[in-house]
């Protein structure tokens, strides 16, 4: 075992937790969308990128700060999501699942190319707000405040979403419509509208993750596409049948990734895929998933 000190370990665990925060929010959004729409939203990574870029544009073109962007950017990207659902996705619900996959892949290509044509692939810096800058000195290590904030927000958002779905009336509509949308309509509930709003909500989660990521990573047109493949692996591992499954797997795999960076750095970028293979070998339906 290579030598390491506790600081490196804690530092990497924190980094893992940060990555896990993004995995959790993104796979949660995918799971929410998949539940009702039965579509794997391939545009998710592009929408995450749009969230980050919208925050950056709000700041650089309109002088709107981070705090407002935290709400505005997801809302703006969600409106884009509403348009996608209304004009494109709605037309293919009757078809085989793979068309949803292909359609949202096509949308992702268009969106990412448009941003790439406008802003290139190089990253744009976005500074964290003053209140979240700096670090807490714990003697043995420095704890950047912004990173703590990201983990905190992610936890709150995930738990709130879970409560919304499991414990509220609206959540009961959602769970019921996931099982049998036609019957829910016969109770007088506007399911098509609910589908639109659910997609918008999932998209807003992706965009929120993007805003959170903006000060951590550089804002760039390609920030979403690579992340997307990893999030898909996370989703395969956790299974999309359960919301807590998506959240726990997201954080868990972030930590696994962080630990791998400490003990065997070359494997850090692939450890999640290896984990996926192991899980598929020994538990084909995923850690928490119902069989697909």
């Amino acid at each position: 075992m290579p030598s390491f000190d506790i600081e490196v370990l804690l530092g990497q665990l924190l980094l893992g937790l940060i990555n896990g925060s993004f995995y959790a929010i993104l796979s949660l959004g995918l799971a929410v969308i998949f539940g009702l729409l039965n579509i794997i939203n391939f545009t998710h990574g592009a929408q995450y990128m749009m969230g980050a870029f919208t925050a950056w544009m709000l700041l650089n073109y309109l002088g709107i700060n981070y705090w407002a962007a935290l709400v505005l950017a997801p809302a703006i990207v969600a409106v884009f999501g509403v348009a996608i659902e209304r004009f494109l996705l709605r037309r293919i619900y009757e078809l085989d699942h793979i068309y949803g996959f292909l359609l949202t892949y096509g949308i992702a290509l268009v969106v990412e190319s448009a941003y790439r044509a406008q802003y290139g692939v190089s990253g744009q810096p976005y500074r964290p707000p003053p209140a979240l800058s700096g670090a807490i000195d714990l003697d043995y290590m420095l704890l950047p405040i912004y990173r703590l904030w990201v983990v905190g927000v992610s936890l709150v958002v995930c738990i709130a979403t879970w409560l919304l779905i499991e414990k509220t009336r609206l959540g009961a509509y959602l769970r019921a419509a996931t099982e049998n949308p036609v019957l829910v309509r016969t109770f007088g509930i506007n399911v098509p509208l609910m589908i639109t709003l659910t997609y918008a909500f999932g998209v807003a989660l992706a965009a929120l993750a993007g805003v959170l990521a903006a000060p951590l990573y550089q804002v760039s047109s390609i920030m979403g596409s690579n992340l997307m493949v990893v999030v898909f692996a996370v989703v395969v591992i956790g299974g999309m049948g359960s919301i807590p499954g998506a959240i726990l797997t997201g954080f868990g795999l972030g930590l696994v990734e962080g630990l791998t960076k400490v003990f065997y750095p070359p494997a850090a970028s692939t450890v999640i895929f290896v984990a996926m293979i192991l899980i598929l070998t020994f538990r084909p339906s995923g850690l928490m998933g119902r069989s697909a």
């Binding site: 009961a172 019921a176 099982e179 309509r185 016969t186 109770f187 509930i189």
Partner: protein
Amino acid sequence: MPDRTGTAFLTVEGLHAWYGESHVLHGIDIDIREGEVVTLLGRNGAGKTTTLRSIMGVVSRRTGSVRFAGRELIALPPERIARLGIGYCPEERGIFASLTVDENLMLPPVIKPGGLSVGEIHALFPNLAERRRSYGKKLSGGEQQMLAIGRILRTGAKLLLLDEPTEGLAPVIVQQIGTVIRLLKQRGFTILLVEQNFHFASTVADRHFVVEEGRTVDVFSNADLTRNTQKLEAYLGV
């Protein structure tokens, strides 16, 4: 159809319906007055279930006319139809496995005043009170049926469409459901009931429509049923 006095609550005229490409209903005509209990009788595959689904608007396509309390429904989506005051209990019961009994019961929103209270529903179906926290997937067939009926009584819907509520249930539960239907009639509910079992139907209904190959072909009042037993048996192929 014989012309009836009294205002029709639900009038179905020349109803055609399709699932995808296949044309299933070829002219259904039904009229129900307020407070009546009416059954649709017919063989398997005659189009009884599709008739209820077409009234609710959950088929691929439908033409003709469905008027309810003076409103034409043929162009409305199912959620609008439900909001006018129609409750639908499907043949497969449609209990949501991932929801508890209480969540299932509270799921349909109240659309009009005058529905039963949860207490009254529990009084009708004591099992539902006992199993409030159980998940839908844990219920027996009888309990599922009670829940499926119970949850549309809360909403204030005045017309109930019940699709084979007695199918596959033990005689004692069939009796219980019969009692409930008669009670609901007393409370002023109007009920359109699909039944295979015409002995059961004769204990609850005022009139019976016979459906054959997607058409309504005959109608009897309950009083005439005994006189027409042979004819009916021919229709039902029993």
